[in-house]
Symmetry: none
Subunit: 403 residues, 2 copies
């Protein structure tokens, strides 16, 4: 990784625990000029009281102006520069649907599309077919595809989108995507870009040929294209890089999946925020890094439901005393990116951060919100992937750099 | 470029327009302790009102402590890290005098100098001869230089400085500069550093030999040296990198030239600020990125004319309503670097920025000035070349990074 300057301590410090509490899509915008953001409007007496003893700031998950997807945004929080550590879209799709992707598998993101009688793509999203229709077509493919020497899995994601996985020996993913990413062209041929990817290329070619036949009477979804063809990345893992024993506590597969990519364990799925904190308490003695993921702040942001996003933040605030009762060495409260209700989408705006530790330099600002964080000691627009070394330092888990 | 992580949208967004209004040398310093800067003293009701709805900050054009030249400073504003994308001084000289440099040409910056009877340089600026004298000597050279197989152009810049251009087939610029950059040595011999630069080296050697003869009776300007020997760079262009149709509106060749380097069009020269805004209105429907350059803020800074610099800022403020009436998706007001009247020169001080967009996170600071910008959400000392991706994001012209 890019944190060569960190020297992990000996494994003696299981008692120095770090909690990373991520409210997905936390950052927001006012709904009207002069107004306040979701986090600023929310009544958060516990976070505000903690803020006064904390260092605040605003982090940029990827780069200034870049709108982060969920995968890259979480990698940044885990200490990985997401520009350097790029995950293929196929792998992200597998994480999102909780597919048990193996290191030898090749995964891709599939889209149903429409082609005309000449095989030219006329709609890259097949008229945005319903999820019901998309699922039916995935089942149709699973029942009829037969590529000798390989297992093919099609898992429906949503609407026109699905996960495509090849399981076979001797695969490598360096092949041409079949998605031309524009209309007016036919699907591309999946040629291999190196010798060890030839087998994969042939399998994709055969799959595409069969899929075209199987879907030929299914207009508008009468063809499919693949992109983001990738294998699981072989990256340095958190336990090795930071000498941590990390656990992910989350309600949705995507976030457990990204956490597993970097070596976190995630023994079970939580069904509610309360259950997430139950798990935090349950696993407290057995781990030393706790990633706790709160999903609905993002979902309501995507829906444009400002008030509901506010309420979710308030629910999390109400749970804060239970987390603090565990006496973590470091507690970070932040988001993976901004999802302003105003925009109904992820955005590039920097994300509020609260870093609490007995060893932090407190800003003395008794409020947790975007404007308050602008004045905090972590600074505005610092790279999100610098939070992990900061957490490690505040937990007393780093040695001196140089004599 | 270094913005591989940005995914340009389909070319459907001509209506999402970005205006980059650059007041050259905008950043300043107080003239006495406790005083205010030029921008802070200026009466700018329009900018102050806009600031309240905007995100503010201070950008660093090149690196902390680096005093930017005009070329690198503008490249940074256009999204190019000027350390990575370095332009030869010869090319900058060509841009500055509006010379129509061709891709096959080799350009250099020339200085007249003084040599003694042994050929040793005694004054690197030839006693800072007048511009009149410099022009006369350039004409003398143009009339008498004759290098077979090559066209040589000498274009006077100012005082002892000129542009030197070779036009011939098969040139390459990897040769020794003849300027030793110290007194007490003779001009260096332009040896070639690679095989394809041999022709260029020979031409420069022959040119230097003839120039020494022609200037032999012209003390103090009895010799010349060349530096910054370079060809036009072949960089990715803004239209390709950002999927933009950009136009440069400026009164001086240098700025139109740098803009053209990165693929902007610049169909005509403006004669006044008013005419610049006339052009903005005239071209509004045909472009989507508008670089508008204001020169005199820098000129008066260089002159140490604090009050006049203040007045120029106020003139620009008075034109702001006309720009806002066009309803740009993004309006950035900034400088390319600081030119404090106190210093009468370019400086390394960070440069005030105002970024207005309906999607910005407003700081609510109703003032545009150095101190106000220090509290803004863009942060202090962010890289100037990150303004372009920020502008693209705020204009809704970027896709998500990662799923």
């Amino acid at each position: 990784m890019n944190h060569d300057y960190m020297i992990p301590l000996e494994p003696e410090n299981l008692s120095k625990k770090i909690v990373l509490l991520v409210m997905d899509g936390l950052g927001g915008l006012p709904m009207e000029p002069g107004g306040k953001t979701e986090l600023e409007i929310a009544n958060t007496p516990n976070m505000d009281a903690l803020a006064e003893k904390s260092t605040l700031g605003l982090h940029v998950p990827v780069r200034n102006g870049v709108i982060p997807g969920s995968g890259p945004a979480h990698l940044s929080l885990f200490g990985y520069d997401p520009v350097q550590y790029e995950v293929g879209r196929g792998v992200l799709s597998a994480l999102g649907v909780d597919f048990d992707l193996q290191p030898s598998d090749v995964a891709a993101r599939g889209n149903f599309c429409s082609i005309d009688e000449n095989g030219v793509i006329t709609d890259r999203r097949a008229g945005r077919i319903s999820s019901e229709e998309g699922l039916r077509l995935c089942n149709l493919l699973n029942e009829n595809i037969n590529v000798p020497g390989a297992e093919i899995f099609i898992a429906h994601e949503k609407e026109y989108r699905f996960l495509f996985v090849i399981r076979a020996d001797g695969l490598s993913a360096n092949i041409q995507e079949t998605d031309p990413q524009v209309v007016g062209k036919g699907p591309l041929t999946s040629i291999a870009f190196d010798a060890k990817s030839k087998k994969t290329a042939k399998i994709v070619q055969e799959f595409s040929r069969q899929a075209k036949q199987i879907l030929s009477n299914e207009f508008p979804a009468n063809m499919l294209v693949l992109r983001g063809i990738a294998q699981l990345p072989d990256w340095p893992k958190l336990p090795d890089v930071f000498n941590l024993k990390p656990i992910a506590i989350a309600m949705y597969p995507m976030y457990r999946g990204v956490a597993k990519l970097v070596g976190m364990e995630s023994p079970s799925v939580a069904q509610s925020y309360e259950e997430e904190i139950d798990m935090l308490e349950k696993y407290w003695d057995n781990y030393d890094f706790f990633f706790v993921h709160i999903k609905k702040t993002d979902s309501y942001g995507e829906d444009g439901a400002f008030d509901k996003k506010v309420q979710e933040i308030e629910k999390v605030d109400a749970l804060l005393p239970r987390i603090l009762a565990l006496d973590p060495s470091v507690l970070i409260i932040t988001g993976d990116h901004s999802t302003p209700s105003l925009m109904k989408s992820h955005s590039w705006h920097p994300v509020p951060v609260l870093l609490y530790s007995k060893l932090c330099r407190p800003d003395g600002i008794a409020s947790f919100g975007e404007a308050a964080c602008r004045g905090g000691g972590l600074g505005v627009r610092f790279p999100g992937y610098e939070l992990m070394p900061l957490a490690m330092a505040h937990a007393g888990r780093l040695e001196k750099f140089g004599a």
